[in-house]
């Protein structure tokens, strides 16, 4: 199974960040509904199983 680490929406957390952990990333996805566009970010890891929004890098 593909993992978050291979996904376009995976952005690695920099080493100097307060919440840094090895292999941790921000999953940032764009959403759109009748009110407009917004972006969500939640923590994932390189090895986290991909979700339905997975898009290969």
């Amino acid at each position: 199974m593909a993992t978050c680490g291979e996904c376009t929406f995976f952005f690695r957390v920099p080493e100097n960040a307060d919440d840094f952990e090895p292999d941790k990333g921000d999953c940032v996805t764009e959403k759109r509904d009748e009110k407009g566009t917004y972006w969500l970010s939640r923590p994932v890891f390189v090895s986290t199983d991909s979700c339905t929004q997975f898009q290969k890098k």
Binding site: F11, V13, P14, A17, D18, D19, D26, V28, E30, K31, D33, K35, G36, T37, Y38, W39, L40, S41, R42, P43
Partner: protein
């Protein structure tokens, strides 16, 4: 064509009332409000058009797609399980840390102030650690968190740990059942989790959290040294242990908040670099990233910093660490130093006054889309409202000088432009307030926003000094600090600033219903009209009361029973909060908690006890009618009255007319006012003041109504004031009953000013005629009225300035009247979002026209 106010003859002159803005002559009366919104920029116009409103009507969310999220429930539960064995305050810090570290964060188009407290901007979080009944209520609704089975399991897990379960065991089941009826009293806080707080925003903006962490770490170091001192004295040294735990929890909480803000900074940068194509927006996003990297970790240097750091603090204090309603702060005072830096001195984040107004509009829209997981009961009592977001402006500074500044003006301008119902504004009226700001206050009032709601600055200051005397650590408000007050929610002042502010609702809030108490007083404590059960002690039947004093004495006993029970419920809740619902982030930003190593739910330096009598005037007018017609004139017997009431006046129409026509409050009528003054001061206030709460001070009445006057009115049977069973009760703490104040606006003031003793606050609703207010003389009349109100030492007044024509038109075609706003009680709402029952109570309010006798009393000079 718009209606113009008719000319008035005054002091031998004919005074005409042409419109101040002649263009308004062409706007029909029934569409005026649709012409008043003027968002100041294209951005705020877009933001308003796409605002994700979270208000409810008749208990249902008005906007499609709004619902409870599961993420906070899930994270709180994971952290609670993972932290078993640690000190409770540490667990609370770790729960917050997990929510901030692992929760989803959100950024929306166009916004410059970022941050939300749920996993999606259409959702709001729930708080299973507070009330399992409240979560259950959502599980049974269309707004249930998903997946529902998981949410159900989480709620089951929390049931034994919840505030509700921990409190219930200290109450007799009969008392609990009585409280849960919401008939003579509001249900206890532990049953619904409703809460309020005044966060000490100042420490975050002035110090930054890194400094707060350093302070806590230094205290820990000192405390450990004290703990290790020889020879050991357990009677003293052990007291350092809970302090160390508290400071350590503060450090965890503050570090988590900094890291969370920096996650937002990263999100802005990622979106700018990977998703956004507009170069201007990219630049904005990079600036937002830079700001969130710096604040709230460091002190704010400019106004953009301050808006953002304040917003993060708001989210944590009101929505993430724990739920709390409100938006309590003295916003002009909090923001002015940064306004000065950015607008006047231009030392950091240089901007114009117009830029500030845009920020105000953006903040108002952020508040409008901030969701609160209130229980259905609470959604019903705030129809058309989101969550009693109320900020305070004006008043005086610590040295007694005028508290208005250019930030005050920007906030009022932004509010008038963007025309949202929330946040509501309280303006502290002082004779020292500068005219240019008063004019802006008036502009909002005249535009029918229903706010600013006006509070008497001097009354508030004296009140802070009075409560200070009861401080249990002799560190209540100093005379200078007494000037730093804001309303906690709709009506009650509380200290604000770096320390001594209210941190939890046990201090004040929640309601008692005098009209219903009178009803059960007449029936030996039995509620025949709604709950069909014994709601209070057996104090005899109406027919047993040989004198008016006998009747009053029975009422006093019923009222005292409820008062002690409701404050006990709040204080038991407070006790449990200190053990299991600590708020280490709030502790970390309060100077008192930081200095003393105390927890915010535990430390109380300035008592501020109050409870809200709602439906007082129905009870008071009923007492007047009974005294006059039964005890004084003996026109009817009590048995006749009771028969008529039990029949809801049917078959007793003539008798009802007599009771309805008995003297009523608000007409400067000595007979009625003497009875009612004594009812307020000796019974409602006097009995309440005998109760001492957690903080060691007296509990005093804050008469107000939210929309409970409708809800409780519908639960209250027919009353001796001539009211039919189920009709709405009076709409404010001291407002005359709808349509019964017939002697003009100054007669209302004269009546209201008679009540002074044993009161904390009393809400006065007045409805002003639109044509006179929009005329060339509008401001002068209002200003003279306000000075008269102030000189009579009245605590509060707020206005509806909307025509009956426009409200009727909105009832016919709601879709054409989306911007019609009205004042309900402590909050404003879009008229079309209020149920018809509620709309009709606004229409029924007497529209006050000022006449020569009012001008005379107000000592007003009117030119042509």
């Amino acid at each position: 064509m718009a209606t113009m106010a008719p000319a008035v003859e005054y002091k031998g002159k004919v005074i005409d009332f042409p419109f101040e803005n002649p263009e308004e002559e062409k706007i029909p009366d029934d569409e005026l409000h649709e012409h008043l919104a003027k968002p100041s920029t294209e951005r705020t116009k877009r933001l308003k058009a796409r605002c994700r409103w979270k208000h409810a009507s008749a208990g249902e969310f008005v906007e499609h797609g709004v619902r409870a999220g599961i993420e906070r429930m899930r994270l709180v539960t994971e952290a609670h399980k993972a932290s078993r064995g640690k000190p409770e305050v540490t667990r609370r810090a770790l729960i917050l840390e997990r929510c901030l570290n692992k929760g989803t964060i959100c950024l929306q188009t166009d916004e410059k102030i970022i941050g939300y407290h749920a996993e999606d901007p259409n959702y709001f979080p729930l708080y299973p650690e507070l009330s399992y009944m409240n979560v259950k209520d959502y599980l049974m609704s269309d707004y249930s968190p998903q997946p529902e089975a998981e949410a159900e399991a989480i709620n089951d897990y929390w049931k034994p740990y919840s505030l509700q379960a921990k409190c219930e065991q200290y109450f007799d089941p009969i008392d609990l059942t009585r409280m849960y009826q919401v008939s003579t009293m509001e249900a206890p806080t532990f049953a619904h989790g409703y809460n309020s707080i005044i966060p000490p925003y100042e420490t975050v903006l002035e110090d930054g959290l890194l400094k707060r962490i350093k302070m806590a770490e230094e205290h820990i170091k000192e405390a450990k040294a004290e703990l290790a001192k020889e020879p050991w004295d357990g009677s003293k040294q052990l007291s350092w242990i809970p302090k160390i735990d508290n400071w350590q929890a503060m450090v965890i909480a503050d570090k988590a908040v900094i890291a969370w803000a920096r996650r937002y900074a990263r999100l802005c940068k990622i979106v700018a670099e990977n998703f956004e194509s507009d170069p201007d927006r990219k630049k904005e996003l990079m600036e937002m990233a830079e700001i969130s990297n710096r604040v709230p970790a460091e002190p704010c240097k400019g106004l953009k910093d301050a808006f953002q750091a304040k917003w993060y603090t708001f989210l944590v204090c009101h929505g993430i660490e724990r739920y709390a309603s409100g938006f309590a702060h003295k916003e002009d005072k909090v923001l002015y130093p940064y306004y000065k830096a950015s607008v006047i001195d231009k030392t950091f984040q240089p901007m114009t006054h117009a830029d500030v107004v845009e920020y105000v509009e953006m903040e108002r829209l952020k508040i409008s889309e901030h969701g609160a997981g209130k229980s259905r009961g609470y959604r019903e009592i705030f129809p058309g409202s989101n969550d009693l977001f109320i900020l305070t402006l004006g008043g005086t500074n610590r040295d007694g000088s005028d508290g208005c500044n250019d930030m005050t003006d920007a906030i009022l301008e932004g509010a008038r432009n963007i025309r949202t119902t929330e946040p509501s504004i309280v303006f502290r009226y002082s004779k020292k307030n500068r005219p240019q700001t008063l004019r802006k206050v008036f502009n909002c009032v005249r535009d029918g926003l229903g706010y600013p709601s006006i509070k008497n600055d001097d009354v508030g200051i004296e009140q802070m000094k009075y409560y200070s005397k009861f401080s249990m650590n002799n560190n209540g408000a100093t005379d200078e600090e007494a000037h730093d007050w804001c309303n906690v929610l709709c009506m009650s002042p509380g200290l604000c600033g770096r320390r001594k502010s209210q941190k939890t609702r046990s201090e004040g809030g929640s309601a008692i219903f005098p009209a219903k108490i009178l009803e059960i007083t007449l029936n030996n404590g039995y509620d025949w009209a709604y709950s069909d059960m014994q709601l209070g002690p057996e104090t005899g039947n109406a027919e047993d009361f040989k004198t008016y004093d006998d009747l009053l004495e029975a009422f006093r006993k019923q009222y005292s029973y409820v008062m002690s029970l409701v404050v006990r419920a709040k204080d038991v809740g407070r006790h449990i909060e200190t053990q299991y619902l600590q708020i280490p982030f709030v502790s970390s930003i309060d100077d008192g908690c930081m200095e003393l190593g105390e927890e915010a739910t535990h430390l109380s330096e300035q008592p501020n006890g109050w409870h809200n009598p709602i439906t007082t005037i129905v009870a008071a007018n009923s007492l007047v009618a009974m005294k006059k017609l039964i005890y004084d004139e003996k026109k009817y017997t009590m048995k006749q009255l009771m028969d008529a009431l039990k029949a809801n006046w049917e078959g007793h129409e003539e008798m009802r007319k007599d009771f309805k026509n008995a003297p009523k409050w608000g007409n400067d009528d000595d007979y009625a006012d003497t009875i009612i003054q004594s009812f307020y001061e000796d019974i409602l206030g006097g009995e309440m003041a005998k109760v001492t709460n957690y903080s060691g001070g007296p509990v005093l009445p804050v008469g107000q109504a939210v929309a409970l006057y409708m809800e409780v009115g519908s639960r209250t049977g027919p009353t001796p004031d001539g009211r039919y069973g189920g009709e709405a009760a009076d709409d404010g703490g001291i407002s005359p009953y709808f349509g019964t104040d017939t002697k003009g606006p100054t007669a209302v003031l004269k009546s209201v000013s008679k009540v002074q003793k044993n009161q904390k606050a009393n809400l006065l609703n007045q409805r002003l005629a639109v044509p006179m207010m929009r005329s060339v003389h509008g401001f002068d009349i209002w200003h003279a009225y306000m000075d008269t109100w102030h000189d009579l030492n009245v605590d509060h007044v707020q206005f509806n300035c909307v025509s009956t024509d426009e409200m009727r038109a909105a009832q016919r075609e709601p879709e054409k009247h989306r911007d019609l706003i009205v004042r309900i009680a402590g909050f404003s709402a879009r008229f079309v979002d209020i149920p018809t029952y509620g709309q009709n109570t606004i229409i029924a309010r007497n529209e006050q026209n000022f006449g020569p006798q009012d001008f005379e009393f107000m000592n007003l000079e009117l030119g042509q």
